[in-house]
Each structure stands twice: as C-alpha cells, then as structure tokens.
C-alpha cells in the first residue's frame, strides 16, 4: 500500500540519519562482531515495530535511544542468541588493531566494556550529553537519582581507566 510505503521510506530515512546512535549502542553492548550485527538487526526490527506508536512527543533520537537501550539491555546473553564462539574475532580485538580509532576511544571502550548493562546506558547517555531529565526519563528513575548514579558510575569509569593506563 502507498501509505505503508511512505511510512517505510520515512522510517528508513530517519534511521539512516540517526544510525550513529545504533552503531554506538551495538558497539557498547556486544563483544563479538557477529553479535553486533545480530543486535543491530534486533534493534532495527524493534524500532520498526514500535514506530507506529511514535507520536513525535519527544525527539526521534530520544525515542530511538529508549527503544534501542531497552532492547540491548533486555536481551539476555544466552547461547541461542549470541551464537559467536570464543574463537571468533572480538570487537575488542578490532578496536585494538584499528588504526582509525583514536587512543582515548580505545581506552574508553575497554573501560565501558567492564561496566554493567545499566551503567553502560547511563554512561552512554552522559557521553551523548543528554540532560539529567532525559537520562531520568529513559532509565525510569528520578533526576536526583541520576546525579547520584552518574557520580558513582563516573568514579568507577575513572578507576577502570586509571588501571588500564
């Protein structure tokens, strides 16, 4: 149907525009290259299924963060979902061998990979310069709690980076 086609085109163009968000989330929430592709696929599908409910009350990117982080966090890492084997190349290997990435990003990635799933979400939203209100509404906690958590997570992140250096 033409209407559906229009919606699909609109959706694809929005996803295309904000793809960086998806790449960043997949980058932080998967250990293997194959997992990253699976996660990208899963998040894209969830975004497409949820798209009809997107009323434009918030910015598309904010809505996208919420759906994508929800999907990444609630996918439990079990063999049937993450099929990659221990011998498969890890994202960490790729990052270490990458000439394109700057040294700070390499260290940051290694440090974030040691955080818990929810901590990763908080750090990601902080790195993306989201306001406390936006972080609170995405995670579902109070603004006051965001500040408490953020202090704690940032201290943990700094501690890990210090050990890595």
């Amino acid at each position: 149907m033409p209407k559906d086609k229009n919606i699909e085109t609109e959706f694809l163009s929005k996803i295309h525009k904000h793809q960086g968000i998806l790449h960043k989330i997949c980058f932080l929430y998967s250990n293997y290259n194959a997992d990253r592709e699976d996660l990208y696929q899963e998040i894209t599908l969830q975004l497409w299924k949820s798209y009809p409910s997107f009323k434009g009350e918030s910015e598309f990117s904010t809505w996208m963060y919420r759906v994508a982080l929800n999907t990444a966090i609630s996918i439990t890492k079990k063999p049937s979902f993450f099929v990659a084997t221990d011998n498969a190349p890890t994202i960490q290997d790729n990052i270490e061998n990458s000439m394109d990435l700057n040294e700070e990003i390499k260290v940051l990635y290694k440090a974030i990979s040691q955080l818990k799933k929810v901590e990763k979400a908080i750090v990601l939203l902080w790195l993306e310069e989201k306001s406390y209100e936006e972080i609170a509404s995405t995670i579902g906690i109070t603004v006051k709690n965001v500040s408490v958590k953020l202090v704690r997570v940032k201290a943990k992140l700094a501690e890990i980076i210090k050990k890595l250096q």
Partner: protein
C-alpha cells in the same frame, strides 16, 4: 596519584567520526527489517506454538488409542482423561500466547519495561513451563500404549512393580522437561533482575526508609517478646 579527566574522553567520543562513517544504505537497513527477529518474546512464542501443536497431536493420538482399545474400558477412560488434559493444556497455552507482552514495552522507560517483563516471567510464564512439561509425560504415555498395542494387542492389568516403573518414568519425563525449562527461565529472570537491581540500588527514598524503620521496630518487639518468653520458660524449668 593520576587524576582522570573524563571530559577529555567525552570530547573524544563526541568527535569520533567512525560511528557515522560506517553508515548502512537504506537497502541494508531494509534487509535487517526483513531478517528474522531473535528476541526473547519471539523465542517464547515459538516454544508455545510448538507445545500447542505437540499437544494437539497428542490429543489425536489419544483419540486413536481410544479406538484401538475400545474393548478395554479403563484404558478408554485413561485416554479420555488424557485428551481432556491435552485440550486443557492447549487452552492454557493459547491464553498464555495471547498474554505475551506486546511490543509496546520498548517504548516505556527501561525500569518499567524490565519490571513488566519480570512480572510476566514470574507469573504466567512459570506456570506455562509446567503445562509445557506435561507434554513429555503424555508423549511417554502415548508411546508406551502404542507399543503395548502393537506388541500385545492389549494392556494387561498392572502389578505394583508396573505402577512403580511407569509412575517413575512419567514423573521423570515431567521433571526433566520442567527442570531444563526452569533452569533457562531462572537464567533469563536473573539477568533481568540484575539490571533492575542496578537501577534500583540507590532508590532509598523516604517511603523505603519509613518501611525499614517500621520493620526494625517490629523485629525489636518480636525479639523482646521472645526473650521474655524464653526467660519465663527457663524460670519454669528451673523451679519445677
């Protein structure tokens, strides 16, 4: 003592171009949309569908056994009961299928979404696992009755040891199926609960503090009563 300047990392993150440079074309994204989802809800729905089909086949096979053992009334009654059990199981699984959380969950904030998933897994889903495990026992029963029919054309009256052997096999087939599924279920729940705990760990709000204070007072009263009762009992024992 090295002081880490996190702002330096944040600005590196902000200026990192590689996330944008790996952009996929609209065609690639469309391919991702068409690919099969591997999410938990879908896996759970697939499991339910398989169980519904299996129970339907079992109901048909029990109906076949009624025809084959038409002259053995006890066997007919047992099979009729098993058909009723299969149909009951199918109805339960169909209702569970309809209650699997819809896709609106990703729209909620992470905490609410996790909470509703955990609630679903802890209520309807756990019961459905036991209903699903019943298929194993019914499959065993159906198989053994067909075996008896083709080997002996009848089922002879059971002795005590027969009841013990078949009873154990039925229980084991049920328990094994349930055990495996519950292990998987616990794994999923623990993953989700850990995430929820991460979110909640700092939420010691006024309500929780009041609740903790009340609990502490309650515990002290119980301890005091226990102490008095213990002393009274000790006194009674000593003086008698």
């Amino acid at each position: 003592m090295i002081k880490i300047d996190l702002e330096k990392y944040r600005s590196a993150w902000k200026n990192e171009q590689s996330f944008d440079s790996q952009k996929l074309s609209n065609n690639d994204i469309r391919k991702f949309l068409q690919a099969n989802s591997k999410n938990i809800n879908k896996m759970f729905k697939t499991g339910l569908s398989i169980d519904i089909v299996l129970k339907s086949l079992l109901a048909i096979s029990f109906a076949g056994l009624i025809v084959l053992f038409a002259n053995q009334h006890t066997v007919v009654l047992v099979n009729a009961a098993l058909i009723a059990l299969s149909i009951g199981g199918i109805i339960y699984q169909v209702r569970t299928y309809q209650k699997v959380p819809k896709n609106k969950q990703p729209l909620q904030n992470i905490r609410t979404s996790l909470k509703s998933k955990i609630d679903f897994y802890n209520t309807r889903y756990i019961k459905s696992l036991f209903v699903g495990a019943l298929s194993n026992s019914m499959f065993f029963l159906s198989g053994i009755m067909y075996y008896f029919y083709f080997k002996y054309s009848a089922i002879r009256p059971f002795q005590l040891d027969d009841y013990l052997v078949f009873g154990t096999a039925i229980i084991l087939s049920f328990a094994l199926g349930a055990f495996i599924q519950i292990k998987q279920h616990n794994f999923q729940i623990s993953q989700l609960e850990n995430c929820l705990k991460d979110i909640d760990e700092d939420t010691l709000d006024e309500y929780n503090i009041k609740k903790l204070k009340k609990q502490r007072i309650k515990n002290m009263i119980i301890a005091a009563i226990s102490l008095v009762l213990g002393l009274l009992l000790l006194t009674y024992i000593i003086f008698n």
